[in-house]
């Protein structure tokens, strides 16, 4: 075997033995393959259709307790807002001169609530709540907005099934939406 081919064969063997080097079709061969376990540990994205929601359940009543301990200091006992955003109310105000944007009045997709609470809340300890607690807090916030009964329990399927009141009110970017005539004199 010519020397170059031997080197290539040896390199290919080493690569396959290591099992982690990017394969030959990678233009630069930089980086290593991510394992399914690594991806599962980091991928916390939830789709608007509820894809990616984990197993588990949470009740409105448990959510009320978790909310009081973890959320109320910033968002108020009933989601009325404070240092943190107002979370409840405002339905019917979005098309008025004084819109009140909350989860109930503005957010288009309920699964986003789970996604955001799990990744970013509470602000002082994000990613510290169990999935059950995240379901429960989501359920409580939806209940505060009249979108879930007080005796309800939420899971992946029921969360994805909730239709948010403002869902159909999002449109594409229609800019440029103004036209300045660029007058130079006698304006």
């Amino acid at each position: 075997m010519p020397r170059l081919e031997m080197w290539i064969a040896a390199a290919a063997f080493a690569a396959s033995a290591a099992g982690a080097v990017a394969q030959a079709q990678s233009p630069y061969g930089i980086g290593r393959v991510a394992t399914p376990a690594e991806i599962a540990g980091w991928n916390i994205d939830i789709g608007r259709d509820g894809s990616g929601l984990p197993p588990g359940t949470g009740s409105v009543s448990h959510g009320r307790e978790v909310f009081a301990q973890q959320c109320a200091a910033c968002h108020g006992d009933n989601g009325e807002g404070g240092v943190g955003d107002k979370l409840a109310g405002g339905q019917g105000t979005i098309a008025t001169a004084k819109p009140v944007r909350t989860v109930g009045s503005f957010w288009p997709y309920a699964p986003t609530l789970f996604d955001y609470i799990r990744r970013a809340m509470p602000q002082n300890a994000p990613q510290s709540l169990s999935n059950e607690d995240v379901y429960a807090v989501s359920a409580y916030i939806l209940n505060l907005n009249g979108l879930l009964p007080a005796d309800a329990t939420l899971d992946a399927k029921s969360l994805a099934a909730i239709k948010m009141p403002n869902r159909d009110k999002f449109v594409g970017d229609s800019r440029p939406d103004v036209k300045n005539p660029a007058c130079m004199s006698g304006c």
């Binding site: 930089i30 393959v33 991806i39 288009p108 990744r119 970013a120 009110k169 800019r175 660029a182 004199s185």
Partner: protein
């Protein structure tokens, strides 16, 4: 809407200007008639030992030795040129701090004065323990170390970044250029083309979006259309020649030239290639533009053409009639600046300003207009036109199209009022 980017009530006028005002007051108020600059006038009442014909004290003794500062800092006399951070923000973890645009020259923002917007504080990341994961609709999901990313072919480009809420559409408007549009900065970025990194993993059919996630306490997530990812998007690790500052995403950030600031995800740790957007909180309940009819525009990526006069501007003072250069910055998320017009008569007539080279795509462009101030009250303003022909609008035009509650993407012309005593204030405030 409660937004922590809102202007505070009492943003401080730089103490340097306060000094100038007080100093001129010492010599009997405004110096106009004799044309004597107020700085010379104020020095006359204080210390003349360093002025002609005397030899200045700093020539009579050696200066600081080599190594006095292992990382250089500005002169102590520039101690008031600092980030503009409101003192009455509702909180400081999800908050913003502004570049003092009116105190800077040229088009490059010093790294220490680059504007900041964080959604969960500034993380302290050990680059040896940082990883970028690329997964989803790819042939080979990959993990990169920082060393890996620096092995790719690199590129350097100058681009601005601007927060989409810069400024709001309603009062109170700020006093200075920084108060108004200080969530804007420009730097030379170095990194690897995102296209190269995506090709390394191999995009699959149906790959239409890339969801980018930061390694901060907000795990901030935004969805980027694949067309942008395969165009001029960059994974940046350096800014103005040095590694990114922690406030700018150290050790790695996404750079999407011309797109609103928050999409340029900092502390970048994950790229999820998908068929549709994530519809994350930051692209539904925030960073969507509410219209008077109750609809909200989503995925409003581009920062449209805009400009502002930085000198003379709010908080400054013309000390004498006569020659003054009007200068400012213009920029467009859609490409190069083609022209900047300036009016010095409250918008009745406009003239073309000089553009300073280089004029770069999606970068700040410096403009200048020589001007003779006659000492009468005046209103000055600038108007940018980009290479697509788009003309920067008036605030009235924007309010007419969008109402008062759309919050984001206000790129209005901003007028400054110059009083007969030379004081410059916000004419729209």
């Amino acid at each position: 809407m409660t937004e922590p980017t809102a202007i505070g009530k009492g943003l401080a006028v730089s103490s340097r200007r306060r000094f100038l005002r007080e100093a001129s007051a010492l010599v009997g108020g405004v110096v106009v008639a004799n044309g004597l600059p107020s700085s010379a006038a104020s020095a006359a009442t204080e210390n003349t030992n360093n002025l002609p014909p005397s030899v200045p004290e700093w020539m009579k003794t050696p200066g600081a030795p080599m190594g006095s500062q292992l990382y250089g800092a500005p002169s102590p006399f520039e101690k008031d040129v600092i980030k503009n951070i409101s003192k009455d923000l509702p909180q400081y973890l999800s908050a913003s701090g502004r570049t003092p645009l009116q105190d800077l020259d040229g088009i490059i923002t010093p790294n220490g004065l680059f504007y900041e917007r964080h959604h969960g504080g500034v993380p302290s990341i050990d680059p040896a323990q940082h990883r970028l994961m690329l997964h989803g609709l790819v042939d080979r999901p990959l993990i990169f170390t920082m060393d890996d990313l620096r092995r790719f072919p690199s590129q350097s480009r100058i681009h601005f970044l601007e927060c989409s809420g810069n400024p709001a559409y309603t009062k109170p408007f700020g006093k200075t250029a920084s108060d108004l549009v200080g969530l804007l900065s420009c730097a030379e970025w170095t990194g690897v083309s995102l296209k190269l990194v995506l090709q390394e993993a191999g995009l699959q059919a149906g790959a239409k979006w890339v969801v980018a996630e930061g390694a901060d306490a907000a795990a901030l997530t935004r969805s980027i259309p694949i067309e942008k990812c395969l165009d001029d998007a960059m994974l940046a690790y350096s800014q103005n020649g040095e590694r990114l500052r922690p406030q700018q995403g150290y050790p790695l950030r996404l750079l999407l030239p011309g797109f609103e600031g928050n999409m340029n995800v900092k502390w970048l740790r994950r790229l999820h290639v998908t068929a549709e957007p994530a519809y994350s909180r930051e692209e539904t309940s925030k960073y969507t533009d509410l219209m008077p009819d109750g609809t909200s525009r989503e995925f409003t990526f581009y920062m449209e053409a805009k400009s502002i006069i930085t000198k003379p501007s709010g908080g400054q003072r013309l000390t004498t009639p006569g020659f003054h250069e009007i200068t400012g910055i213009a920029w467009s998320g859609h490409g190069k600046i083609k022209r900047v017009d300036v009016s010095v008569d409250d918008g009745k007539s406009w003239q073309e300003a000089q553009l300073q080279e280089p004029i770069l795509t999606r970068a700040l462009t410096r403009f200048r207009l020589p001007w003779h101030w006659d000492g009468q009250p005046a209103v000055i303003q600038s108007r940018a036109i980009d290479e697509t022909g788009y003309v920067q609008p008036t605030l009235a035009e924007l309010l007419g199209a969008r109402g008062e509650n759309s919050f984001y993407h206000n790129n209005a012309i901003w007028p400054w009022r110059i009083a007969s005593d030379g004081e410059v204030t916000n004419a729209a405030a």
